[in-house]
């Protein structure tokens, strides 16, 4: 198991170990990023099975490209760029569209007093309305919103996934938010 004098490895050390051919180190990287990689692929390709295959492809390509990973760079955006590219390749043929859904069961609130049924119902309606409008947006708008708000990626990671300069991320997100507001019937002016 990859350890240095009994202490757990930090990410850069996992990467270096993986580059040297340490299988357990690469598997640790997969374990650490499999969820964000899979969800990113799902948002791009729009199908659970295709996302699974795209995420696999992405990790295999990342494994093959580890030798060119720049030491000291952020690993997550580098990986997500590769996964998103793999997903885009599959999206061209699959031409599917992910329909984001709400959880069927939400965790019961702990600690605070339970809200009334009326409040819960209203909150549910508002969530469903918001999600329906998001699902109705064009692919690029929905993707940038989902990356920002549902995967909580940072700007560098969003740019990597969308394959655009970092400066473009803000403008795309801003335009998508305007269209989301319009879909919700809200005033889109910045005031």
């Amino acid at each position: 198991m990859a350890e240095v004098e009994g202490r757990p490895l930090v990410e850069n050390e996992w990467i270096e170990a993986a580059r040297r051919g340490d299988a357990s180190a690469f598997e640790e990287l997969v374990r650490r990023y499999q969820e964000i990689a899979y969800r990113t692929a799902y948002l791009v390709v729009g199908d659970a099975d295709e996302a699974r295959d795209a995420a696999q492809d992405g990790f295999l390509r990342a494994h093959a490209a580890l030798g060119r990973f720049r030491a000291g760079a952020e690993f997550r955006p580098w990986l997500l760029r590769i996964v998103a590219n793999a997903a885009r390749n599959r999206r061209r043929s699959a031409s599917r569209r992910a329909g984001l859904a709400l959880r069927a069961f939400r965790d019961a609130a702990s600690g605070d007093a339970a809200p009334s049924p009326e409040v819960l119902l209203l909150a549910d309606e508002r969530r469903r309305e918001l999600l329906a409008v998001i699902n109705g947006l064009q692919f690029d708008d929905r993707l940038v919103i989902a990356l920002r708000w549902f995967l909580e990626l940072n700007e560098e990671e969003m740019a990597a996934v969308m394959n655009c300069p970092r400066g473009t991320v803000k403008s795309r997100l801003s335009r998508a938010m305007l269209r989301l507001r319009a879909g919700l019937g809200e005033d889109g002016s910045d005031g």
Binding site: A23, Y38, A48, H63, A64, G67, N85, L100, R126, M177
Partner: protein, 252 residues
């Protein structure tokens, strides 16, 4: 209307925890199994070299391959076979590259996210050309001699980087490849790429009527071509595949 924006952002943040993504599959096991397959070509226990050893071995022996054989790439087709025309004897920069422009102007004139190599020492391109058509525009950066990128003597050009939309239609650009040329599969940011080197190979634009536009014809040096994010790229003039990949992966 800051309140409206903040309110919507708060709603999105709240919604975040409610999104039901599909259950993440057991990727550790799946990836482990894929890496263990003999046809994968390399195993985890094998030390990883920096670049070339990880290039997928796919050198195509072109001698004897029928002229009809080709590899498709967005907006670009590799055609294997003898040239039906006489190539220019050296790098030629002709009007077919489009009109001279500036980097900033080109950014606003194309319908894709134009990216520029950020490799240290390369700096900004010396010349920028914009061609339109093809639809969406095609931008070519020309660099004079740079450290590590010696200039081709006849033209003074050290490096050429071209970008155009991958969905401009079939066969708009063609790379004609004669015998003696090796086409090696490579990767850029983990995605597929092709390294075309050796022998004679030519890159030219074919107009809407299918006519070869010889003003863009260039006797190409080794070229890396790949598609990324709906944009087809070519990097020409790098001394080696590793150098070309460094240029390619520095695009921002």
């Amino acid at each position: 209307m800051a309140d409206v924006r903040n309110g919507l952002e708060a709603r999105l943040a709240e919604l975040s925890g409610e999104i039901a993504f599909p259950t993440t599959p057991p990727l550790v096991a799946l990836v482990r199994a894929r890496l263990a397959q003999p046809e994968h070509g390399f195993g985890l226990r094998r030390p990883l070299s920096r670049s070339l050893a990880l290039v997928l071995v796919a050198t195509l022996l072109l001698a004897g391959i029928a002229a009809a054989f080709g590899i498709g790439l967005g907006g670009l087709r590799l055609v294997f076979g003898p040239a039906s025309f006489s190539p220019a004897p050296s790098l030629v920069v002709g009007p077919g590259l489009g009109a001279p422009t500036t980097l900033d102007a080109a950014r606003g004139d194309v319908t894709f996210a134009l990216r520029v190599p950020q490799l240290p020492g390369l700096g900004e391109p010396d010349l920028v050309y914009l061609a339109d058509p093809p639809a969406g525009g095609a931008v070519t950066f020309l660099y004079g001699e740079r450290a590590g990128f010696p200039a081709e003597p006849a033209s003074g050009i050290g490096l050429i980087v071209t970008q155009f939309r991958a969905d401009i239609g079939p066969d708009v650009f063609e790379k004609l490849i004669n015998s003696g040329v090796s086409v090696v599969s490579a990767t850029v940011h983990g995605g597929p790429a092709w390294w075309v080197a050796g022998g004679d190979h030519f890159f030219f634009y074919r107009d809407a009527q299918g006519v070869e536009v010889d003003s863009t014809l260039r006797l190409a040096s080794a070229t890396l071509i790949w598609e990324e994010g709906g944009v087809t790229h070519r990097v020409e003039g790098a001394p080696s595949l590793a150098d070309a990949v460094r240029v390619a992966e520095s695009l921002e």
